[in-house]
Point group: C2
Chain length 353, copies 2
């Protein structure tokens, strides 16, 4: 028998190690479980008020902090949420993230954000998060046919999507109304007298890319514009460079569009680059509309007309959805859709006839 009891555990005020529930108990002359109860808001009512106060005081005095790892081990819930982001550096993402994190923090959760872009396989990242015992996942990365979704469902892990949706609509999501956003853009241009409007579409395996394109085509049709006057070119990635290339292809068409709607502000800046490369003026020769209203697009020249999406709200909605899912695993597959808003600036102008 090897009893490795720490000598006089809990009595040494010399403690440099982190105090535990036992230290508090010893100091109050009560049993550790009583301390646990007194310090847990939910169980506090089971303990005499006077004792509870003494325990609270002692805990403060020695600077006791709950050990979440131990609690998590015991309860099976870590209070950790994983967030998979496509690229932290993308200027559109921080507001979403902060919406997510604020809401989650308020509920006592901490968030681990993982940037998928840089490191290898998304599966691996998810597995590492599972190893950390995350109680749920927010995916801002899902592409339309995606194995990660299946992977998470297999792991029986509560998951929500933000800013994206999955092809089958199986997962709860919070996203902007992409079709409505494109309609805003197209109708604005039509009202300005434009009859030939091009679209620089985003990657089609990402839901925003596919849905904005569909929204563009539908709105153009509804406005009575023939397909040959509403050409679409696809950018393979949401980057300025890809936007430039796609716009260049659009401008090389037989009948040049007098306006271009981009699926994204980054793409729109690429359109600016293409225009400059061809010696065309914006908005003089070609009007441009973006999407997302990312920071500082009001400072570029010309200030970009764009569709603002409710990024913070989106993040918050996703967090709420996830928490609901965690509380009731079988719950509703809700899709929250947020209304976009057109911000008119200097990059769109009436078409002189």
């Amino acid at each position: 028998m090897k009893q490795t009891l720490r000598p006089a555990s809990g009595l040494r005020a010399t403690a440099s190690a982190r105090p535990t529930i036992k230290d508090v108990a010893a100091r109050c002359g009560v049993h550790p479980s009583t301390v646990s109860r007194a310090l847990s808001p939910a169980m506090k009512h089971l303990v005499a008020t006077e004792v509870a106060d003494r325990i609270q005081a002692a805990a403060n005095a020695i600077g006791y902090r709950l050990n979440m790892a131990a609690k998590g081990l015991r309860t099976g819930r870590s209070g950790l949420i994983g967030v998979l982001a496509p690229d932290i550096a993308d200027p559109g993402f921080p507001p979403v993230l902060s919406g997510i994190a604020d809401h989650l923090n308020a509920e006592g959760y901490a968030t681990i954000v993982v940037d998928v872009g840089s490191k290898g396989s998304e599966q691996d990242l998810v597995d590492r998060l599972i190893a950390r015992g995350v109680d749920g996942l927010v995916l801002a990365t899902v592409s339309l046919r995606d194995d990660v979704v299946k992977h998470c469902l297999d792991a029986a892990l509560p998951v929500v999507l933000v800013n994206r949706v999955d092809a089958a609509g199986q997962l709860p999501s919070a996203a902007s109304d992409d079709a409505a956003g494109m309609r805003l853009a197209v109708e604005h241009l039509v009202a300005l007298g434009h009859k030939r409007i091009g679209h620089v579409a985003g990657p089609q395996e990402i839901s925003t890319g596919a849905r904005r394109r569909a929204g563009f085509e539908a709105s153009a049709k509804d406005a009575g514009l023939p397909a040959r006057h509403t050409p679409v070119e696809i950018a393979e990635t949401y980057t300025r460079a890809a936007g430039r290339e796609a716009a260049l292809r659009l401008l090389a068409r037989r009948t040049r569009p007098t306006a271009i709607v981009a699926a994204n502000d980054l793409l729109a800046l690429g359109v600016y680059d293409a225009l400059a490369a061809r010696g065309l003026a914006c908005p003089g020769d070609v009007s441009v509309v973006g999407h997302n209203d990312m920071p500082f697009v009001d400072m570029v020249s010309p200030p970009l007309t764009t569709v603002r999406i409710a990024q913070r709200d989106m993040g918050e909605a996703a967090a709420r959805l996830l928490l609901a899912r965690i509380a009731a695993p079988g719950a509703s597959r809700e899709h929250i859709v947020l209304a976009p808003e057109l911000i008119i600036r200097g990059s769109t102008i009436a078409r002189e006839h």
Copy 2:
């Protein structure tokens, strides 16, 4: 005696619960500790290769994942690092963060990023991170006289600073050479013939604000410019609005500067706003230099001349420093300083005489 053994633990393939080391052990007919050894890279050599392989296979077969909370509880190390950020939405921060996270991830750590701006007391945030058992902290928030620093030192928690330094220089840090950056800016303007150069300084309780200001004043003096021709106005926050106000004050001076150096790109954009408000042209009437080279300042009009700082490297250096600190708690209080670079664009022009 109450033996609550799970019946036939590890034999049920029905398992919907997460498999544990015991399940793997049962499946292989070995003891759990052998599994632990076989699955730990560091201890694997203690186990027969054949057995180790069998264990590995079984683990994969049933989808076993290490439970980090349990491991952490046992070893006292969580593999979690906390990052305190002033504002995730600040466009300057993501590259730093991604430098930190990438390096840390590669070493098996996960990072919890906390945005200080939104929620209450920084102390509380730190305490919550301590409750999570973080192995160390990266502070991107420290102001020059700061109690958080003391709080962390008290908790004997390894800490490094990034992008900032503390007044006493007690903590290891990774930051850009602010003085050198300002010298680059001032000498550039002097070379262009400017003789009256103003400075929109950042908050003086933040090290970048204070050090860039000191750098500005030193460089101006070295260039032979009298103090009355190199006025300084302080912006209370690093925001476009505060930059505008400070610039307005600068422009209201008796002898108007022909160039303005801002402590930060956000501030520089505020200077643009002020110039526009006074009907002055940039760079025609007043040249402007920023600091940080944040995304898309090359797209504003005019494209901003600015001092680029090595943000990603800064993050990576901070991560390295922290890991070193964790490995050897008493280790060197190293200050890593990164060299900045001047990026000349359209907002600075020669002063016609």
